[in-house]
């Protein structure tokens, strides 16, 4: 646990950088020595602080959700965007936009979460029913299910001219995160704490139904708890910022390679690495083409996939 402290310090530094990077010039010194004018303080409190907190919460949440999903599906290659979870949450958003566009954010999140729950449940049900599933089949089924669900979403979005508003969440972007519009992410945070408390159960569930039952655990209940956590976390991130790809895939894999799959030990690391990675990517996205922003989803897609490829190829050359 002691080794977590330097990691936390690093996250803190990244968070401070994130607070002071952006179009409007707000410097750390001016805030510390009180020379910052009111507008700068306003920007800091209304935009930068919410954005940074949102990034931290979303990053750790998605990474941990990815890990839990990998345990539930018993497959290292799944994450919320390859299991139909994200797409289902998107369909939920569309339904809200069509039927009750004035709902408060929290209610929108709940609707999206219910849809995400249904979609992920469907994915796991399909997996259970497939004879002879191969390692590769699992993410493919998820991608396909996601494709079907997003086809439904696209179809209705076209019909009702909502395509543009739906397009907005397709690529994770935290630039629109303001005070009052990110607080649902605290729900995700609470759930990741719950996940940590239940960590041992997920570790056991990851070894399969027979194994869990043998140890006297109620497998179905663990599955249900895990599903609720994954769906709520995903829905809150999707509602606030949109799809964040690869994070839920690479962070758990990297942590697992480094320290194995005992979630009691590895979950805090997964949370920290997730938060750190998304913060770093967001800072890169804000600085590389300033004053324009590149969405964090795009940056993560590039950095994440390159890194994952590196891991795969390195492992391949070792094993092959």
């Amino acid at each position: 646990m002691k080794s977590l402290i330097p990691a936390l310090l690093l996250i803190f530094c990244l968070a401070v950088v994130s607070l002071f990077v952006g179009v409007s010039d707000v410097s750390l010194w001016s805030v510390l020595n009180g020379t910052a004018d009111q507008r700068q303080v306003m920007i800091l409190l209304a935009s930068r602080v919410p954005r940074t907190i949102a990034l931290l919460l979303a990053g750790s949440g998605i990474a941990i959700a990815g890990m839990i999903l990998q345990m539930l599906a018993r497959n290292r290659f799944v994450e919320p965007s390859t299991t139909g979870t994200v797409e289902s949450a998107g369909l939920g958003m569309l339904v809200v936009l069509l039927l009750a566009p004035d709902m408060p954010v929290m209610a929108k999140m709940l609707v999206a979460a219910v849809f995400a729950l249904a979609g992920t449940g469907m994915f796991l049900a399909v997996l259970r029913a497939i004879p002879l599933r191969s390692v590769l089949m699992v993410p493919l089924v998820g991608i396909m299910l996601g494709g079907m669900i997003s086809a439904v979403t696209t179809f209705f979005a076209y019909r009702f001219d909502l395509f543009q508003s739906m397009g907005a969440w397709a690529n994770g972007d935290f630039s629109a995160v303001l005070r009052g519009r990110y607080e649902t992410l605290w729900v995700a945070f609470a759930l990741t704490i719950a996940a940590y408390i239940a960590a041992d159960r997920f570790t056991v569930a990851g070894m399969g139904e027979e194994f869990s039952t043998n140890l006297g655990l109620n497998y179905r209940r663990i599955m249900a708890i895990g599903l609720v956590i994954v769906s709520m976390v995903t829905a809150s991130v999707v509602v606030t910022a949109g799809v964040v790809p690869f994070l839920g895939l690479i962070v758990p894999n990297i942590v697992s390679m480094a320290m194995g799959d005992n979630l009691r030990k590895s979950l805090p690391w997964i949370g920290i690495c997730g938060a750190g990675l998304i913060l770093a990517c967001d800072i890169v996205g804000r600085t590389i083409n300033a004053p324009f922003e590149i969405p964090v989803g795009t940056v993560l897609g590039i950095i994440g996939s390159l890194f994952f490829l590196y891991l795969l190829l390195r492992r391949q050359s070792r094993v092959a």
């Binding site: 050359s317 070792r318 094993v319 092959a320």
Partner: protein, 251 residues
């Protein structure tokens, strides 16, 4: 004759085959035995040019397998690996016809058809030849693949653990068949085996591999001996003579 000289293979730091030189005689049945990880299957794959050779050469009747054209070699030497899983839906006779590909390139002549029919009959597949592979039991499917190799009609036939997934009755039938193919058809049959007693009872020649190296070779009477088996497998053995065969027990 298969001449293996100075052959090595390594994956990164791990040496899997370490400087093996060995001559497999023409004719008869040769078994390769040894503990897990001894490099038996790797060696066999290199003989059949399924794996590139890092160092050394393998010559089959004077042809260097690394340099000879693939289709020319396919008329001299055939191999059957384990785990022959197919996504495609094929009938038994379709599969066996592929054995003639090196000769016909897909256009079967009457001679090819004769080979296919004989191979099907030899393996007792006449009744099953129009069935699809996915409708067969594991043992029947294994026989279909062996029939394909037989139809390829090569002087050398290599089998990587052909007894996997076979029950005792089918395992005995398969070994008898391979021995008869060597004896009646004049083929050279090389098999990787896990079961020492099958190797003892059916082989003309046994090769023992250990830790990527050639450990011993010779006729069964020379190899199936307590001191050699104990050293090879690092397990206690008793060897008894039963009805003219040497049987090893290790319980």
């Amino acid at each position: 004759m298969i001449g293996i000289s100075g052959v090595s293979k390594s994956y990164g730091q791990t040496v899997v085959i370490d400087d093996v030189s060995l001559t497999l005689p023409k004719g008869g049945l040769t078994s390769i035995i040894g503990p897990n990880g001894a490099g038996k299957s790797t060696l066999m794959s290199m003989i059949a040019r399924l794996l590139p050779i890092d160092r050394g050469t393998v010559m089959v009747d004077g042809l260097d397998v690394a340099l000879t054209a693939g289709d020319a070699l396919a008329k001299r030497l055939s191999i059957l690996r384990q785990d022959n899983h197919l996504a495609a839906r094929l009938t038994v006779s379709d599969l066996v016809s592929f054995g003639r590909y090196p000769y016909s390139k897909g256009r079967l002549t009457d001679e090819d058809r004769g080979h296919i029919e004989r191979a099907l009959t030899y393996l007792g597949l006449d009744e099953l030849k129009h069935r699809f592979l996915d409708e067969l039991s594991g043992g029947q499917r294994q026989r279909a693949f062996v029939a394909m190799v037989l139809a390829q009609d090569t002087d050398y036939m290599l089998f990587d653990e052909p007894l996997n997934n076979l029950d005792i009755r089918h395992a005995v039938a398969m070994m008898k068949l391979l021995r008869d193919a060597a004896k009646d058809l004049g083929k050279t049959v090389v098999v990787v085996l896990h079961d020492i007693n099958f190797a003892s009872c059916y082989s003309d020649h046994i090769v023992v591999m250990r830790r990527g190296r050639l450990f011993r070779q010779g006729v069964p009477e020379e190899i199936i001996r307590e001191e050699i088996l104990i050293e090879t497998y690092e397990t206690d053995f008793k060897v008894r003579d039963m009805d003219g065969n040497r049987i090893a027990t290790f319980y």
